[in-house]
Symmetry: C2
């Protein structure tokens, strides 16, 4: 099932699920998830809905040291949830603070309160997967060891456009295209710490809740970007577009 948040032509914001090419307004998907159910239909299909960011995280966790070039174990950091923007939003790359890097990542959307979740139970707290672009100015790292300055730019976390609830957590495909050319085809199977391990690690230290997201790290999926580039990141069929300006 595809779940997102939409804004209708009269300005109403609601959760919705996909039905063909339309979106059907629905009840709170997190409440339904907590009861092991699918969200309830609450209106007629809408053909021309505007898709918002599919989640409103209170917490955005980034996983560090989770590429094939890094040694285990993983680490983590927090990114500002105010940086989250919908797919299609033009993002202004910060100038004069070193190069800009885009990172296509498999993004976990947490479905319910989660603390100390064992690896084997991780799937029970995951609503689904979506695509995220973890944009940053990594050269700030030399003076900013806590990933604050280089990660907080306006619009630096494009997310969505929807959550795929039936994605294969261990085998979610991740593709990055820049200006139409594929730069990498990889997936969650290439992460040293997989989706379930990331959930277990994060929740062993920090409580998460409905709508929070974990950016699982970059399996060779980080690339420099320039103004004018069009970045397309697809995760488990979820197609995220970021026009860089």
């Amino acid at each position: 099932m595809r779940i997102s948040r939409i804004q209708t032509s009269d300005g109403t914001v609601t959760h919705a699920f996909a039905e063909g090419d339309s979106w059907v307004p629905c009840g709170d998907p997190y409440e339904a998830f907590a009861h092991g159910e699918e969200p309830t239909r609450q209106g007629e299909p809408i053909a021309d809905a505007t898709l918002l960011a599919p989640a409103e995280p209170r917490i955005v966790v980034g996983i560090a040291q989770n590429g094939p070039e890094h040694p285990s174990p993983v680490q983590a950091w927090l990114k500002s949830p105010r940086t989250v923007v919908p797919s299609g939003t033009p993002v202004e790359l910060r100038r004069n603070v070193g190069k800009v890097v885009i990172e296509g990542e498999v993004c976990v959307v947490i479905g319910r309160d989660a603390l100390d979740v064992p690896v084997e139970d991780a799937h029970t707290v995951i609503l689904g997967l979506t695509a995220v672009n973890d944009i940053s100015n990594p050269e700030r790292g030399s003076v900013d060891p806590r990933n604050f300055e280089g990660k907080g730019g306006v619009g630096y976390t494009p997310l969505g456009p929807w959550i795929e609830t039936s994605a294969d957590l261990a085998g979610a495909e991740l593709e990055v295209r820049i200006n139409g050319e594929r730069t990498v085809l990889t997936g969650s199977h290439e992460l040293p710490a997989g989706v379930a391990e990331c959930v277990a690690y994060v929740t062993s230290w920090v409580p998460l809740g409905p709508g929070d997201i974990i950016m699982t790290g970059a399996p060779k999926s980080a690339f420099p970007a320039e103004p004018g580039d069009l970045v397309e990141i697809t995760v488990a069929g979820v197609p995220l577009v970021t026009p860089c300006v």
Copy 2:
């Protein structure tokens, strides 16, 4: 003016301002602040209100390297907003991950959207000051350079109980007492980067908004704590209590 969030005996949650020993339900203080006004009275004074955390931050910023023992310039990091709890909440100190440190800090509550705010204009985006206890397990720092593991414990950010809107930003007094004994009397004047400088630094990198908070760092105000300790932190007259369990 003292502003907080209260829960009344029928369960209603609302903003409120202090009038003597009572709390008067009021309109949104951030909307009023944006118009240069005080929040409007919306009910009768309540004598037995339960005080909640006075703000619901989307972003909790910690300032690092801002004690007299640190060299400038300051740095920053993000703490999970899910760690925020009201004054009086018993906080379970995490066992088996090294010592626990409490840090009494002057806490800035942001009143409106703020980006690239010059030092001289910082007061125009600050709703007021409150007290915060930045609890952590600092020994995790050796394996956790981004302040993730050691800062995310349940209840690790006691806040409040109210926001003082008329506090002296440059001269806010900060007192820490542990089990009734004063361990330090200091204030924002002892911070190498003061309140206004912290706001300017943070907003030069990361957009903030209404209710977000900045913990300005520890001017000699960090101390080890043990289960059973009662920690009292007073900032500009705002008295925060943390029973450690």
